[in-house]
């Protein structure tokens, strides 16, 4: 993006922030700027990552929210059972289309109750409705119900979709720090992982979509899509050789092997 435009965006953001009354400061600034947002929390058990996702429609499905997070913040994911279930998130979970491959471990689906708490979703992510300001969470673990499955850390939309301000936001909200690039992160060693609040603010282009990494570790690497692996070629060559061998055999003994 061109530099003057970026600078103008920063100035506009600062102006907007200073003009916003204190009472409405709790609402996500990003929503006011660029339309509907929703929060997506991914808890792998090792680290918890929260994404502020820009919605491309007034309401989306829970699955589409993950796809949007993948597009916007490079969350890696894999769906299974015909694209109806979540198998893999942030590099955790079974690789293929069978989401129960790592049973009893699987991705539990939680929906925010609006106050930072979570309720176990009774519906599949393909049929749920996510609106502006909603929060959804996925946790990796065992347990077939909300009573036994690990619960994600308490998070509200205000804590996920923070405004991009150069000064740290007081109270329990995660502290905000400016990073020069989407990849760069600042770690604060010494704090316990659960309270280790780090904010990754993107460049002005994506300033409205900050990503809060709540625990140590970076987000999963972007999915790489190279050419076909060697196994594919070996398998295809083997199949072709077998087919040709069968063909020659049929031509040599058209009436069958025994007469």
């Amino acid at each position: 993006m061109r530099r003057p435009l970026a600078a103008a965006l920063v100035v506009a953001t600062a102006l907007l922030l200073s003009a916003t009354p204190a009472a409405t400061r709790a609402t996500p600034a990003c929503a006011a700027e660029t339309g509907p947002h929703a929060g997506l929390v991914v808890d792998t058990g090792q680290r918890t990552t929260a994404y502020c996702v820009v919605l491309d429609a007034p309401t989306v499905s829970g699955l589409h929210l993950i796809q949007l997070a993948a597009d916007q913040d490079r969350l890696s994911y894999g769906l299974g059972f015909g694209g109806q279930a979540v198998c893999r998130l942030a590099g955790v979970g079974p690789d293929g289309g069978d989401c129960w491959a790592d049973y009893p471990h699987y991705w539990g689906y939680w929906r925010g109750d609006g106050g930072g708490g979570w309720t176990w979703s009774s519906a599949g992510a393909a049929s749920t409705t996510v609106r502006d300001g909603d929060v959804e969470a996925w946790t990796w673990g065992t347990g077939m119900s909300g009573a036994t499955h690990p619960k994600p850390p308490s998070l509200a939309i205000e804590q996920i979709c923070t405004r991009t301000s150069p000064s740290p936001i007081p109270s329990r909200a995660p502290s905000v720090s400016r990073a020069p690039s989407p990849q760069a992160e600042r770690s604060s060693p010494g704090s316990p992982p659960a309270s280790l609040a780090r904010t990754r603010t993107l460049e002005p282009r994506a300033a409205s979509s900050p990503v809060v990494v709540l625990a140590a570790g970076a987000a999963g690497p972007p999915p790489t899509s190279g050419g076909p692996p060697a196994g594919v070629l070996v398998a295809l060559v083997l199949a072709i050789v077998l087919a040709i061998a069968g063909w020659f055999r049929l031509r040599r003994y058209p009436g069958g092997a025994r007469t």
Partner: protein, 272 residues
């Protein structure tokens, strides 16, 4: 007796193991390989008997199943309430259809290379009647295919139209009639041979030859590898479809499928 010189039980073991492998995976590489292996085995062992046509018929049935399963996934375009159509859901449906097609081709190969009544002869006396019922059920498809082919040929010789929907009733009636006739002939012949009365004697029992043992053993080995992979969750038996990724081919499992081609390599009476 028509059929191969391999013990029928070896063919049962081979077909069940190949079918089991096709059942536990949706990886297109393994499935295509199973179809190729089936074709190779069919080419080596098919007979002159009319039931050898069942390979082609089951190949067509598999293709129909594949197209049907995939188009069912595409139905969401016309009826949006069924579900959202995405490249992932279509790919998933395609792989499921491919699995079904591979199972059908394996069954077609089994029908083309073996004689179901040979199986009845070798069952223990206690299980003779259920085995007879199973053999009759198994042979319905190849016998119907064979008699349909005969009827069509006869109609073609008489200058009757044999293609199109209008010719179907003219085809169905003689095929059904012939099925009834065959059933009553079989019942009469069984009655005449004293079926179900007293001890059953065995005339020249077929022996397990070394090739038959090799065929059964390698098939069981191949299926065991896939079972372990399925239970252990390795080998990439179910490739990811959302987002679409390249299917994996584990070298061990590739070797396992290659083991299924043993019937095509072992020496047979006609070629050796």
């Amino acid at each position: 007796m028509r059929g191969t010189d391999l013990h029928p039980a070896a063919w049962i073991v081979w077909a069940s193991c190949a079918g089991l492998i096709a059942f536990v995976t949706t990886d297109p590489l393994y499935l295509v390989l199973i179809v190729a292996v089936s074709w190779f085995v069919y080419a080596a062992h098919h007979t002159r008997a009319p039931s050898a046509r069942s390979f082609r018929v089951f190949l067509i049935a598999g293709a129909v199943a594949l197209v049907l399963r995939t188009s069912l996934a595409l139905l969401g375009w016309i009826v949006p309430s069924i579900g959202v159509v995405s490249s992932g859901s279509v790919a998933f449906a395609f792989l499921e259809g491919l699995r079904l097609a591979a199972i059908l081709v394996v069954f077609g190969t089994f029908n083309a290379v073996t004689d179901p009544f040979g199986l009845v002869r070798m069952t223990p006396r206690r299980f003779h009647e259920p085995a007879l019922a199973a053999a009759l059920a198994l042979s319905i498809a190849p016998r119907t295919i064979a008699s349909a082919g005969d009827v069509r040929e006869a109609q073609r010789l008489r200058g009757l139209p044999v293609t199109g929907i209008r010719s179907l009733p003219a085809l169905a009636v003689p095929v059904l009639e012939r099925g009834m006739e065959e059933a009553s002939t079989l019942a009469e012949s069984m009655d005449a041979r004293g079926h179900g009365r007293g001890r059953r004697s065995r005339y020249r029992a077929q022996r397990w030859s070394a090739p038959a043992v090799a065929v059964a053993a390698t098939a069981v080995m191949a299926a065991a590898f896939f079972l372990v992979a399925s239970l252990g969750g390795w080998g990439g038996l179910h490739p990811a479809t959302v987002p679409i990724a390249w299917p994996q081919a584990d070298p061990i499992l590739l070797v396992a499928i290659a083991l299924l081609a043993t019937p095509g390599i072992v020496p047979t009476r006609g070629t050796a």
